[in-house]
C-alpha cells in the first residue's frame, strides 16, 4: 500500500502532529464541559480559569506551590505508567500513596540518632516498602489466580483510607496537635530546602526528575525494559517469544507500588512532617489522566504532573476569588478521563481525511 502522489507529504509528520494534538484537544474538551457546570451556577468560566491560572503561576510563591503539588502527582503517574508497561493498570496509587506516607512517618519518627544523609533514604525505603506491601496481595492474586486487578484495587483504596484514619486518629496519633494528626517525624528525616523560606521548596523535585530519567532510560535502553514493553503491548506474543511474562507483570506492579509509596513518603518528609487523614486530595487519581495523556512517557508525565499540580493549586485561588468550589477540578478530571477513554474516536476523526487519500496498491 502506497500513498498516491499528492497525499500527505510526510505521513510520519502527520502522525506526530496527531499525537501532539490529541491531548490538547481532550483537555480543551474537558474544560469546555466543566464550563457548562460553572455557567449553570451563574458564574463566569473565563474569570474562573483566569483566577486558576493566576493562582497556579501568577507569582513565584504560586509557582513553587504548583511544583510542590505536582510531586506526588508525578510519582502517582510514574506508578501507573510502570504498571501499564507491564500490561496491568495500577489504580491503587491513592492507597499506596497513603501507605507510603505511613511508612515514612513511622521510620521518620521512630528511628532516632541517624544523620539526615542516612535517615532520609531509610524513610524513603520505608515508604517504598509499605507501597509494595500494599500491592503484594492484589499482585499475587492477579498473577496467580487471574483476579480482576482493577476491582480489587478499587476496593483496597477504601481499605487504605480506613487504615490511614486508624493510623492518624488512633494508632500513631499526636496528643498535642490542634488538628488531628499523627506524631511528627524527627528533624533528621526532614528534606533539606533547595530554595529556602519563604518559598520552602525541598529537594523532592530532584527525586521526580531523577526518577523520570531513570525510567525513560530503563524502557528505551535496557534489555529488561524492552522485554517489559513487549509484555505490556502484547502479553501473549511476549510469552511465545520466551519472555517470563508473569515475572514482568509482578515486577511492574511491585515497582509501581514502590513508586507511589515514595510519592507519599516525600509528602511527609518534604511538606507536612506528619500525617493528616486528608493529606492527599486525590493525587493518586490525578496520576491516571497524566499517565494516559502522556502516552506513558515518563518525561512528558513530569510536564503533565505540573499541569495537574497547577489545577490543584490554582483551584484554591479560584474558589476564593470567583466563589466556585474547587470540586470543579474533579469534573475537569473526570471528563478528561472519559475523553481519554474515547481517544480512539478522536484519532479516527483526525485521521479520516488522511485515510481517504490512500488507494489500494
Amino acid at each position: 500500500m502506497k500513498g498516491t502522489p499528492g497525499s500527505a507529504r510526510n505521513p510520519h509528520l502527520r502522525e506526530t502532529a496527531v499525537d501532539i494534538a490529541v491531548p490538547f484537544l481532550l483537555l480543551l474538551f474537558s474544560f469546555l464541559f466543566s464550563s457548562i457546570w460553572i455557567l449553570m451556577m451563574g458564574k463566569n468560566p473565563l474569570a474562573a480559569y483566569a483566577a486558576l491560572l493566576d493562582g497556579a503561576f501568577g507569582s513565584s510563591t504560586a509557582f513553587v506551590n504548583t511544583i510542590k503539588k505536582s510531586i506526588p502527582i508525578a510519582f502517582a503517574s510514574f506508578s501507573i505508567i510502570v504498571s501499564m508497561k507491564g500490561n496491568t493498570f495500577n489504580i491503587g496509587a491513592e492507597g499506596q500513596l497513603a501507605l507510603g506516607a505511613m511508612g515514612a512517618t513511622l521510620a521518620g519518627a521512630l528511628i532516632p540518632g541517624l544523620p539526615p544523609l542516612l535517615h532520609i533514604p531509610v524513610c524513603l525505603w520505608a515508604g517504598a516498602l509499605f507501597g509494595m506491601a500494599y500491592i503484594a496481595f492484589p499482585t499475587v492474586m492477579h498473577v496467580r489466580r487471574g483476579v480482576d486487578l482493577l476491582v480489587i484495587l478499587l476496593l483496597l483504596n477504601n481499605v487504605a483510607n480506613y487504615i490511614l484514619q486508624y493510623f492518624v486518629l488512633d494508632l500513631f496519633k499526636s496528643d498535642n496537635a490542634l488538628v488531628p494528626s499523627s506524631r511528627s517525624i524527627l528533624g533528621s528525616a526532614e528534606l533539606p530546602y533547595l530554595i529556602g523560606p519563604p518559598h520552602r521548596m525541598t529537594i523532592a523535585i530532584l527525586f521526580v526528575l531523577v526518577s523520570a530519567v531513570v525510567l525513560q532510560w530503563y524502557f528505551s535502553k535496557t534489555v529488561a525494559g524492552y522485554e517489559m514493553r513487549a509484555v505490556g503491548l502484547n502479553r501473549e506474543a511476549a510469552r511465545y517469544a520466551g519472555i517470563p511474562v508473569r515475572r514482568y507483570t509482578g515486577l511492574a506492579l511491585f515497582t509501581s507500588g514502590a513508586l507511589a509509596g515514595i510519592g507519599g513518603a516525600l509528602e511527609v518528609l518534604g511538606n507536612y512532617h506528619c500525617l493528616y487523614t486528608d493529606f492527599s486530595p486525590g493525587f493518586g487519581y490525578d496520576g491516571i489522566p497524566v499517565a494516559l495523556l502522556c502516552g506513558s512517557n515518563p518525561i512528558l508525565a513530569v510536564i503533565g504532573s505540573i499541569a495537574f499540580g497547577a489545577l490543584r493549586n490554582g483551584s484554591l485561588t479560584m474558589q476564593a476569588r470567583v466563589g466556585i468550589s474547587n470540586e470543579i477540578i474533579s469534573v475537569v478530571q473526570g471528563s478528561l478521563i472519559l475523553s481519554v477513554a474515547s481517544n480512539y474516536i478522536v484519532r479516527y476523526l483526525l485521521n479520516r481525511k488522511k485515510g481517504k487519500e490512500k488507494v489500494h496498491a
Binding site: 457546570w37 451556577m41 493498570f89 489504580i91 492474586m141 489466580r145 487471574g146 483476579v147 480482576d148 482493577l150 476491582v151 480489587i152 478499587l154 476496593l155 483496597l156 477504601n158 481499605v159 480506613y162 487504615i163 484514619q165 486508624y166 486518629l169 488512633d170 487519581y285 491516571i288 494516559l292 466556585i324 468550589s325 470540586e327 470543579i328 477540578i329 474533579s330 469534573v331 475537569v332 478530571q333 473526570g334 471528563s335 478528561l336 478521563i337 472519559l338 475523553s339 481519554v340 477513554a341 474515547s342 481517544n343 480512539y344 474516536i345 479516527y348 485521521n351 485515510g355
Partner: protein
C-alpha cells in the same frame, strides 16, 4: 446471640444488601451485553444526589427517586456513548465516570447547599401498608418500598434474561457481537439498552441510599457500594438469583460490622471495623468459582463499520 438480636440483624442485612442487589442487577444487564461497568459507583452517586435534589425542590420523595433514576440514566448514557458508540476503553471510562459523577455531585452540593452535606429532605416512608399482614407484617412494614421494587425488578430481570427474545439476544451479544450483527440484530442498540437499564437501576439504588435509608446526601455516602455491586455480579454468575445471594452475604458483613461498632463488644476502633465489608468483598472476589459464566466479549469494544480505520 440472643434471639432479640437476630431479627434486627436480619432486617438490617436486608436493608444493607438492597442497594447492592439493585445496582448489581443493573450491572448484570450491562455486563451481559458485554460492557464492563466500573462506573456503577458514579451512577449511584448521581442517583443519590439527584434524588435528594428532587425531593428538596419538589418536596416529594417519589419525584426524588424519579430524579435519581434519570440521573443514573444520564450517567449510563455517558458510559454507553464512550463504550458502545466510540469503542472506548470500558475500565477507563468507568473510572472517569465515577470521578466525574463524584465531582459533579460534590460541586453541586457545595454550590447549592453550601456544604458537602445536604440538608434533610422529605424521605421515603416505610411500607406501612403491609402492617396488617399477620405475624410478619410488623417486620415487612419496616422496609422502604424501594426494597419491594428491587425484589420485583429482580424477578422481572430473571424473566427477561432467561425467557424473552431480548434476553437471548443479550446473552448472545455478550458472547459474540459479530455473530449477533450478522443475524440482523442491531448490536449497538442492544448494548445501549443494557447500559442504560444499568444506569437507571444504579440510579434507583443510589436514591435508596439517600432517600430510603436516610433523608439526605453527603459526600462519600456510596463509598464502594458500587464496586460491591460489580463483585456481586461476578460472584453471582451473572444471574439475579446469584446476585441476590452475594448481596445478602456482603450485606451480612456490613451489618455485623455496624453492630460491633455500636455495641463496642470487641473494643476495636471504628476505623478497623469499617474495613470489614471491603475485605469481605475482596475475599469473595478472590475465591469465587465458576468464572466461565463470564460473557466472553466482556470489556471488548465493538465498533461500527463506519468508525473503522
Amino acid at each position: 446471640m440472643p434471639e432479640w438480636a437476630v431479627v434486627p440483624l436480619i432486617l438490617s442485612v436486608i436493608r444493607l444488601s438492597a442497594p447492592m442487589f439493585i445496582a448489581g442487577t443493573g450491572n448484570m444487564y450491562c455486563e451481559r451485553v458485554g460492557v464492563l461497568n466500573l462506573g456503577a459507583e458514579g451512577m449511584m452517586v448521581s442517583g443519590a444526589f439527584a434524588a435528594v435534589l428532587g425531593s428538596y425542590l419538589t418536596g416529594s420523595p417519589w419525584i426524588g427517586v424519579l430524579f435519581g433514576m434519570l440521573a443514573g440514566l444520564l450517567a449510563g448514557a455517558i458510559h454507553a456513548l464512550v463504550c458502545v458508540e466510540f469503542g472506548g476503553m470500558h475500565a477507563i471510562s468507568g473510572l472517569g465516570l465515577t470521578m466525574l459523577c463524584n465531582g459533579i455531585a460534590r460541586f453541586l452540593c457545595i454550590s447549592i447547599f453550601g456544604s458537602t452535606y445536604s440538608p434533610n429532605v422529605n424521605a421515603l416512608q416505610t411500607s406501612q401498608i403491609l402492617v396488617g399482614i399477620p405475624v410478619v407484617g410488623r417486620f415487612l412494614s419496616q422496609f422502604s418500598p424501594l426494597i419491594y421494587l428491587g425484589i420485583l425488578l429482580g424477578l422481572i430481570s430473571w424473566f427477561i434474561v432467561f425467557r424473552t427474545p431480548y434476553g437471548l439476544r443479550m446473552r448472545a451479544v455478550g458472547d459474540d457481537p459479530k455473530t449477533v450483527e450478522t443475524a440482523g440484530i442491531n448490536v449497538w442498540r442492544l448494548r445501549y439498552s443494557g447500559v442504560l437499564i444499568c444506569g437507571a437501576l444504579c440510579g434507583i439504588a443510589g436514591s435508596y441510599m439517600s432517600l430510603g435509608q436516610l433523608d439526605r446526601f453527603f459526600d462519600g455516602m456510596i463509598s464502594g457500594k458500587g464496586m460491591m455491586a460489580v463483585i456481586a455480579v461476578k460472584m453471582g454468575k451473572w444471574s439475579p438469583g446469584g446476585i441476590l445471594g452475594t448481596a445478602l452475604l456482603l450485606g451480612l458483613f456490613d451489618a455485623l460490622q455496624m453492630r460491633l461498632q455500636v455495641n463496642q463488644t470487641l473494643g476495636l476502633s471504628p476505623e478497623l471495623l469499617g474495613m470489614v465489608p471491603y475485605l469481605a468483598g475482596i475475599v469473595v472476589l478472590c475465591f469465587q468459582k465458576g468464572r466461565n459464566a463470564r460473557p466472553i466479549a466482556l470489556d471488548a469494544a465493538y465498533l461500527r463499520n463506519k468508525y473503522k480505520f
